[in-house]
């Protein structure tokens, strides 16, 4: 074996610890193979130096022939070439031979070792049987030789001498000795390792301590520590090896930092040299010797050092199966290098670093791919994606640097730069020379042409994006997308760009990131402009114009964009509609009046509070709000509808977030929790089982809501603007100027047709641009109602007195009707209530809010049938008032034709009179029928008048003489003067009524009465029936004579003629001069017939007559109401009276005075006696009208429906009624009183003197 020839070179994995062999080479060679095989078989535990954790290691060795040169000189730090163990082989068995040759050889060997202070040696004595078999003579027991060697060399360390017996035999003995040998070797090796490495490390540390001293070189130290690392690696202690490199890494980093901090180390100089080569990391060799040498020579650049360090770390990490740590460390390294170069102010060619980083990223990625399968890589792209993204960035900046990112071809200087950069890459490394996808090739190609660059860049970007998406790093993915978009923009491909931007925009919107939002939106605007997507562009511009994140100038610019488009007059087809609330927000809406309800044609104002988001004041040609109109049937009178329910006093507040950057959807408000108390009572006794708090709307709150619903705001995509449909109904204002911030715009709402008006859309027109709010929420509306004209009449002063001119007020609410010129009210005249023509009658016209708008005099024409009042023109929903003087004629009770027609064909409504509950006066309802211009039907109005007077009349007689008394009672509250009192009888000319009333004027105070008396004089004979009319003029007290109004009272008297006279006489008892109380006296009654048969009586009596002589039956009756008299015996009786003048009849009745003094005569009644046969009842019996006047009769008919009947007929109706009763009663004799005046009682009010009785005291008793 000639291994001693080759100089051990460093090639890590092939390295083994060196073991030298001296002595019998042949012997060794024979055993080498089995030795080499068996040594590593058993692992040994090694407790490393510096308290490293014990590890099991498999020892191998590189056996070389012993040479002195192999032994390390002083200060030689090479560990790899260090012989850890020296073996001396011998199989000598006879003493002679030992003494003669072997011993010296051994001694020499020992001395050389000792001279180099190497104590790691062992002597192996191999014994075989055949040697024994040779010369039997002069044989020493072998043991003696072993002993000799032991005693000669290993004094007190016998273990340095090992016997290997029968190594080539398959005997248990041989195996055993092998094992012990191997064990020994391993132990010794490890001891040697520990010792030598320990020493080495000590030296290394001391060297490190010196690092602050001048002249200390990092590179030297680097080599030393790396030696250690190599050894660990050699011993497959990769962990420990890695530690060495990490320490070096940290140390170097620290230096750089310190340098940054100011204290410079001279050795750093080399690293500060300008970067000339940026060929990137090289990870395909276990050791990059070129770089290592350059480090050794102290000529390495920073990048070289870093690259070398990392390549070593990378190798070890991969040995350790930690590829992902590689990627992570790689990223840190790259960042770090860039930083360090900055820190050390190393001059670098523009783009050189980008190349270096780019290549390095790809190199790392390739290296990883080289040692992992696809599945692993896919699973771990979270570790690699960073490198991809980084590479992408770098490539992009390179592209930009080299003018490859543009629509044009690169300029010559771009090309020069490219060439320089490529030069810096040097030649491709042999490792990658034949791989097609090498980073080197990639970069070269990418920089070769615009197209190639695009291809590579896109490939990388998409790779990065997909990875990000795969691991759910959406934001990062979008960010890559954004830079991709920027790339596309540079390439003049806005279409592709926009899609990426929109993607990004969405996330910014949904997460509420205003600044990136604004920025992205601007880029989008750019795209849209280039794409000529006007609508979208304008929409975006609007958003930007209202974006606080931009400067005023920028905002103005975007606003100008809108204006300039809007300015483009021309094809109306090119109207653009944009969403309103990016332009201006409707914040408040107010109705005037607040009820938001108005009569048709009335004025309703809607005040909008608009917050303009624009930077400058905007002139709007038209601001319109479209209206949804709904006719509501059954014309409501200002009843507010649903829409108003939201409003408080006609004000609606709208709250919407700032559209440019509102809170994200996730932060949107959700329904508020509604809790309540519950009580659970036991069904048996109503006692509480339990109470609690429950939630009433859990279902709403816990509803699974889609978390990623984009908020309701115009964002990325241009909002769905419903084109403003030109509804007929609109709120419109022309030429408004919206200042930035709040503006109040006042509309006058259309209020023509009655119904409900809902505001739907809002639309602001700026030239060709329309800003539209597709719906207004909460829904807002107002209401228009319509009102019929109304005419009312009311007394100016209560009560209206009949018979006197009274003022009544006419009130006309025009409602929806407009009173035109020439409109007139047609009042049908009625003679019971004429309208008094007045010279100046003015109408006042006032608005609903009761302010006077006009006054004008009415012209009133009266024909005999109608009075027409021509009205002044009056706008709708106004009030017209005027007053008329009317006179209600007091009914006299004269005959009238029934059912006379009015001029307008209406049935005349007779005034109904009745006594009013709260006044003693009799009321008369006067109906007025008025034809109004707005209606084909006539309006009926009723006025109630009160008759101030109650009138009574009575007939008085004195024997044959007759008197008529009329009593006028003033039941009103007014005082009157009564004048020209007259009583007339119009049928009998012969008749004369002589007045006893002296005064012409009489005061008739309220609640007082006036009595008037007339004597009736006649010539030949007195008519049985008198038609009298009492008339007087009256006027409220102290008014001039013109004010006097007539008052008529008509009545009729019947059977006025006196038929009988009754005379009575009381005669004292015989022998007495005077009547005495207690004593019976005679009452002598004498009834005398005064006239011939009067026509009223004829028929009845003729029947009763037996012989030709006409008689009539009378009945008399003495009754003393005052109980002054006691009638003794028969108090009444029948008298048969011949019906001829002066027929007389006497009767005597015993009466006894009960008191003394002047006693009035007892009453004597005379009555008609009608036998049962009489059929009288059938014919009208005038007598039932006794003591009657028309009014009192009218009273009776209060409830009488037949109000067209005349007073007279009414009377008869009544009597007929009574007649019926008489008939219904069994036909039996009847008594009937005479009408007053038919019987004259002379003794009426006559008195007689009665003396007291003699036995006073008894009488007293009686009296009491």
């Amino acid at each position: 074996m000639d291994c001693q020839e080759e100089k051990p070179i460093i090639y890590t994995m092939e390295n083994k610890p060196i073991v030298t062999c001296a002595g019998d080479q042949g012997l060794f060679t024979s055993l080498y193979t089995s030795l080499a095989q068996q040594l590593p078989r058993e692992p040994m535990e090694w407790r490393g130096t510096y308290g490293r954790a014990p590890k099991m290691i498999h020892l191998e060795a590189n056996f070389v022939q012993f040479k002195e040169e192999l032994l390390p000189k002083e200060g030689n730090k090479a560990l790899l070439t260090f012989p850890f163990l020296h073996i001396y082989w011998t199989d000598c068995c006879d003493t002679e031979m030992y003494k003669s040759s072997v011993k010296e050889d051994m001694l020499r060997w020992q001395n050389t070792l000792r001279s180099h202070g190497s104590a790691d040696w062992v002597i192996i004595i191999v014994e075989t049987n055949d040697t024994k078999r040779k010369n039997k003579t002069n044989i020493l027991p072998r043991s003696s030789i072993v002993d000799k060697i032991r005693s000669d060399f290993c004094n007190k360390q016998n273990d340095r001498c090992v016997v290997l017996s029968d190594p080539l035999k398959e005997s248990s003995r041989s195996v055993e000795s092998w094992n012990s040998l191997l064990l020994k070797l391993r132990t010794l090796l490890l001891m040697s390792f520990t010792k030598n490495l320990g020493r080495f490390e000590d030296d290394m540390r001391t060297l490190r301590e010196k690092r602050t001293q001048p002249g200390w070189s990092f590179c030297e130290y680097f080599m030393v520590q790396e030696e250690l690392a190599f050894v660990f690696e050699m011993l497959q202690q990769f962990e420990d090896a890695l530690v060495q490199y990490d320490e070096l890494d940290a140390l170097f980093t620290q230096y750089v930092l310190n340098f940054g901090a100011g204290d410079t180390a001279n050795w750093l100089g080399s690293f500060c040299a300008p970067v000339r080569n940026w060929s990137g990391l090289l990870l395909r060799r276990p050791i990059d010797m070129e770089k290592r040498d350059s480090i050794q020579r102290g000529e390495a650049s920073l990048l070289d050092l870093r690259s070398y360090l990392f390549s070593r770390q990378c190798t070890l990490l991969i040995f350790l199966q930690r590829p992902w740590e590689v990627t992570q460390r790689a990223l840190e390294l790259l960042h770090n290098c860039v930083q360090e170069l900055r820190l050390l102010e190393v001059s670098v060619v523009d783009g050189a670093l980008d190349c270096w980083v780019f290549l390095s990223c790809l190199e790392v990625l390739h290296r990883i791919e080289g040692c992992c399968d696809q599945a692993q890589i896919a699973a771990n792209c979270s570790h690699t994606v960073g490198l991809w993204a980084y590479a992408t960035d770098k490539l992009k900046s390179l592209g930009e640097l080299c003018g490859l990112v543009s629509e044009k071809v690169p300029t010559s200087e771009d090309l020069n730069r490219t060439v320089d950069l490529l030069a810096g890459l040097g030649d491709e490394r042999p490792e990658t020379a034949n791989s097609l996808q090498s980073p080197y090739k990639k970069l070269k190609e990418a920089l070769s042409s615009v197209e190639a660059f695009e291809r590579h860049y896109l490939e990388l970007s998409h790779a990065a994006m997909e990875m990000y998406q795969a691991i759910g790093r959406m934001r990062s993915a979008r960010l890559v997308g954004k830079s991709l978009a920027e790339f596309y923009m540079r390439k003049g491909d806005p279409e592709r760009a926009e899609t990426f931007l929109q993607e990004a925009l969405k996330s910014y919107v949904s997460e509420g990131w205003s600044l990136p939002l604004t920025h992205t939106r601007r880029q989008i605007a750019e795209c849209q402009k280039l794409l000529g997507r006007t609508e979208d562009y304008l929409q975006t511009s609007a958003l930007l114009a209202g974006d606080e994140n931009l400067t005023t100038e920028e905002r103005k610019h975007f606003f100008q964009e809108i204006l300039s488009f809007a300015g483009k007059s021309g094809n109306p087809s090119h109207k653009v509609s944009l969403s309103m609330n990016v332009f201006a927000q409707l914040t408040r809406l107010q109705f005037h009046p607040a009820t938001a309800s108005v009569h048709s044609g009335g004025v309703l104002q809607v005040e909008l509070m608009l917050r303009s988001l624009m930077p400058v004041s905007v002139h709007i040609q038209q601001l319109a709000a479209s209206i949804h109109f709904e006719v509501d049937h059954g014309g409501t009178l200002g009843r507010s509808k649903g829409a108003q329910r939201h409003t408080n006093l006609g004000t609606i507040e709208f709250n919407l977030g700032n559209p440019s950057a509102g809170l994200p959807s996730s932060a949107a408000p959700r329904p508020v929790l509604e809790l309540d108390e519950v009580q659970d009572r036991s069904p048996s006794d109503n006692s509480l089982n339990s109470t609690g708090v429950v939630c009433k709307n859990t279902h709403l709150l816990i509803r699974r809501h889609e978390s990623n619903s984009p908020p309701e705001m115009p964002n990325c995509v241009s909002p769905p603007t419903v084109a403003m449909k030109e509804g007929a109904q609109m709120l419109k204002v022309q030429d408004v100027t919206l200042e930035p911030g709040n503006n109040s715009v006042i509309f006058t709402a259309p209020s023509g047709q009655p119904g409900s008006y809902m505001l739907r859309q809002l639309c602001a027109t700026v030239g060709e641009v329309q800003f539209i709010q597709s719906h207004i929420y909460p829904s807002v509306g107002y209401e228009v109602y319509s009102q019929e004209p109304q005419l009312t009449v009311e007394p100016l002063s209560e009560p209206l007195l009949a018979g006197l001119p009274q003022m009544v007020k006419f009130t006309l609410l025009t409602g929806h009707y407009t009173v035109k010129k020439g409109d007139a009210l047609q009042l049908s005249n009625s003679e019971t209530m004429p309208i008094l023509p007045s010279t100046s009658c003015t109408a006042r016209i006032s608005t609903p809010t009761a302010e006077l708008v006009g006054e004008s005099t009415l012209s009133i024409q009266s024909s005999e049938k109608v009075t027409s009042i021509s009205l002044p023109p009056t706008p709708p929903y106004h009030t017209m008032e005027f007053q008329l003087e009317v006179l209600c004629i007091i009914p006299t009770g004269s005959e009238r034709p029934a059912n006379e027609r009015l001029t307008n064909g209406e049935i005349r409504h007779r005034p109904r009179s009745y006594s009013h509950p709260d006044t003693p006066m009799t009321a008369i309802d006067q109906r007025m029928s008025i034809d109004c211009p707005w209606s084909i039907y006539s309006t009926l109005l009723t006025l109630t008048f009160y008759i101030p007077f109650k009138t009574k009349h009575s007939l008085l007689s004195a024997g044959n003489r007759k008197y008529i008394q009329v009593c006028v009672q003033n039941v009103s509250d007014v005082n009157f003067t009564l004048a020209e009192v007259k009583l007339t009888e119009n049928q009998h000319a012969s008749l004369e009524l002589q007045s006893f009333n002296t005064k012409t004027h009489q005061l008739l105070c309220s609640k007082h009465s006036v009595f008037c008396l007339w004597e009736v004089r006649w010539k030949d004979d007195l008519p049985s029936c008198l038609q009298c009319v009492f008339s007087a003029n009256f006027s409220p007290i102290n008014q001039d004579t013109s004010a006097f109004k007539p008052f008529h009272y008509q009545f009729q008297l019947e059977r006025v003629t006196t038929l009988y006279s009754v005379r009575a006489e009381i005669l004292p008892p015989s022998g007495e001069q005077h009547c005495r109380c207690g004593l019976v006296c005679d009452l002598e009654v004498c009834i005398t017939r005064l006239t011939e048969l009067s026509e009223g009586e004829i028929t009845e009596d003729s029947k009763t007559d037996t012989d030709g002589l006409k008689t009539t039956k009378l009945m008399y009756e003495v009754a003393d109401s005052s109980s002054n008299w006691a009638v003794c015996g028969k108090s009444s009786g029948m008298v048969l009276m011949p019906t001829k003048a002066n027929a007389t009849h006497k009767v005597q009745i015993e009466v006894m005075p009960l008191f003394a003094g002047h006693l009035p005569f007892p009453k004597i009644k005379v009555l008609k006696y009608l036998p049962h046969t009489a059929a009288v009842a059938t014919q009208p019996d005038p007598d039932s009208c006794v003591e009657n006047d028309s009014l009192s009769l009218l009273d009776k008919t209060l409830d009488d429906q037949a109000d067209t009947a005349s007073i007279r007929s009414r009377g008869s109706v009544h009597s007929v009624g009574s007649g019926d009763q008489q008939q219904r009663g069994v036909a039996m004799p009847r008594l009937e009183p005479f009408s007053p005046g038919q019987v004259f009682n002379h003794s009426h009010t006559q008195q007689v003197l009665v003396l007291p009785t003699t036995e006073d005291h008894i009488m007293e008793v009686n009296a009491t």
Binding site: V672, L673, E674, L675, D676, E677, V678, Q679, S687, L688, N689, S690, T691, G692, V693, V694, C695, K696, T698, L701, I702, R704, S707
Partner: protein, 158 residues
């Protein structure tokens, strides 16, 4: 944290105030209860922020509920929830056999009909705490025998 006595008094007064200042209609439709609960909610948000300041991050829902039952409750009522049960479907029942805010009302069924209003605030506390920890929930309560009571937490599955 505030000592419990002042807290109890303040709590009682709070309820008194809410119910006095409102009209009967509010009481009937549970507006007062909700009002109390909302107050509690805001307090819970703040409180939990403070309590979890030094706590390690929660592993899961259950982890959070445990925190509510232990630290949160202790901080408020000087004792832990006595029993926590769950169906692992987002429903948790917290039982307190000696609920502090009821203990001074009565022991037994007296005033049982007034008890709910004394739980509303606490319901809010829990809801607020949970919401701030990122769990939307509805918290209700039940009392059958004072001063013991049950809180039921229904957590919305995202």
């Amino acid at each position: 944290m505030a000592d419990e006595a002042p807290f109890q008094f303040l709590h009682s007064e709070l309820i008194q105030y809410i119910y006095k200042s409102a009209d009967t209609e509010d009481t009937e439709n549970g507006r007062n209860i909700s009002k109390l609960e909302n107050l509690g909610c805001r307090v819970g948000q703040g409180l939990i922020e403070r309590l979890t300041k030094d706590a390690p991050r929660f592993k899961d829902e259950l982890d959070i509920m445990k925190f509510i039952c232990k630290d949160f409750w202790t901080c408020l009522f000087k004792k832990q929830i006595d029993n926590l049960r769950t169906n692992h479907q987002g429903i948790y029942v917290l039982q307190d056999s000696q609920f502090r805010l009821l203990s001074h009302l009565s022991a037994g069924k007296q005033y049982l009909d007034y008890a709910p209003k004394y739980l509303a605030f606490t319901c809010g506390l829990v809801r607020g705490a949970l919401s701030n920890l990122g769990l939307r929930s509805v918290v209700t309560a039940e009392i059958s025998d004072m001063p013991a009571c049950k809180f039921q937490v229904l957590i919305q599955k995202m």
